[in-house]
Symmetry: C2
Subunit: 299 residues, 2 copies
């Protein structure tokens, strides 16, 4: 076991979270929410996306949110882009960090982005090249790494090959996404060991959804592998529209509690984080989906 | 890492769960609930307690529940007893398995059982001796092993010494209870390693509450230590009246999902377990507090 001394949390609440909530949040509230997250000490906050308004109406205001942020020094504000059109809109709005996404599942690729895996990779290569040319840092999400709602099991080797190809295309980081939350420790370990043969652990992040309550235990397995970048969403925002149940991303509060207990630094102030989670949950009209946030309820 | 091939789940929903729910369940419903749990393949079901009705009104009907069960061959139905009076009532009702409880926290001991730790241990010794004389199997719970709501940190050495003393008194098994759910992996590992120097892992069980969402990751640490007995409550029933938040015991559904994914046998049928959790949650008037149970919502 070689736990990292410090972990970078990639807060995906404003993007992956709000994208999948049923309530659409007004632009000024999103901006305030992101400011609260930065004030809580998060150093990477995925701020919005530049995906077609038709597909993601909840984030149709990306071009308004990003330029309006009072960006903190030392904080990165990546945005999600699906294609060249999205990249151009993101760059026009001042994006310096972008994230792209693809998946090794043919069926999920067709249903989610209406193209084959090969076409998706070609499209990503173009976007990555242009983004790097524009001076951006680029992260790539690989979805459904531990299971696909249509195809079931996904081969670790196919995830590893895709991660390797994306790094060769110029990506700075790969985020491995258990989009439907079906992973358990044995499969997670097998996946990470396979991918780490192709991509160094310092370039890997893990992205777990808590659909079946397994997110923290999978994160622990990743920590045991020395992976030091963890995606999460405050208040457990979001979810996957293709996954059963109401659970979304693993809650940042629960991850920070875990890491605090293990003596691993995050730079995050848990009380301020809890307050930010309550702020956005109130706007969404439901309680925070975080055990830690609930447990601090009467303090 | 040496994971056990098979895990015994000790289902504590009918006792530790219902004891702490605000709704009191009628006797026939409790009996039906326990029958459903046995039909789901659980081999140890803590059925009720013989504690003063004044303190635990929700389980005042222990003497009616236990004799009315259609006991399955191969299933054990332990009951909780606090003292000789409780033991005698349990034996009169036909109990063959009993559980006692104590804690190394002086303050928790005074608040929970109105006696010092030394007095509690003396009382337990009497009960254990009499129960063994009556041919019972005896489990002892040690509460607050990873933190006390009044005293904060608890020394692993004091837990280990108490576990050793209880085994010397004749107990068959020690269940280590994180009563307020504050444990995280590093502290859990340190505790288990300390206790295992005094008591063999085959005689140890772990009992986690999911107050801060850390239960499964702590269970994973216990599995890595080779511990093969895990307490849980279907639908995440119960809680601790002294702990913040609404979370109770770790949900049996979530534990079974974890173990299924790891290829560790439990003998439990997950679908039947989910049905039992929904049955009792409906009677209690709230949704099951299990991610897995919620995720199976639309199936």
């Amino acid at each position: 076991m070689s736990f990292p001394k410090r972990v970078t949390i990639v807060e995906v609440g404003p993007r992956d979270g709000l994208q999948n909530e049923s309530e659409i949040i007004p632009t000024p509230i999103k901006i305030e929410f992101i400011h609260q997250l930065a004030a809580a000490g998060l150093s990477v906050i995925e701020a919005t996306s530049f995906v077609s308004k038709k597909w993601v109406p909840a984030l149709a205001d990306g071009s308004d949110v990003l330029p309006a942020l009072n960006q903190h020094a030392g904080v990165r504000y990546p945005v999600l882009v699906p294609n060249e059109t999205g990249l151009n809109a993101a760059l026009a709005a001042g994006a310096k960090d972008i994230a792209v996404f693809t998946t090794p599942s043919e069926t999920f690729s067709m249903k989610n982005t209406n193209c084959t895996v090969a076409d998706s990779l070609a499209r990503m290569k173009t976007v990555i090249t242009q983004a790097k040319h524009a001076g951006c840092r680029v992260r790539a999400y690989i979805s459904c790494v531990l299971g696909c709602p249509y195809e079931g099991d996904i081969l670790p080797d196919s995830v590893a090959a895709m991660a390797y190809a994306l790094m060769n295309d110029g990506c700075d980081e790969i985020s491995l996404g258990d989009t439907i939350g079906v992973g358990t420790p044995g499969k997670t370990l097998a996946l990470l060991e396979t991918v780490m043969k192709k991509v160094h652990r310092d370039q890997l992040a893990v992205h777990f959804h808590d659909t079946y309550g397994q997110a923290l235990v999978n994160i622990y397995v990743a920590l045991q592998c020395g992976i030091a970048t963890i995606d999460s969403a405050v208040a457990g925002l979001g979810g996957c529209p293709y996954a059963a149940g109401a659970s979304g991303n693993v809650a940042t509060e629960d991850v920070v509690y875990l890491l605090n207990g293990m003596g691993i630094e995050t730079g995050v102030n848990l009380e301020k984080l809890i307050a930010a989670g309550r702020f956005i949950a109130k706007k969404l009209g439901h309680p925070p989906r975080s055990r830690v946030n609930a447990a601090f309820g009467d303090k």
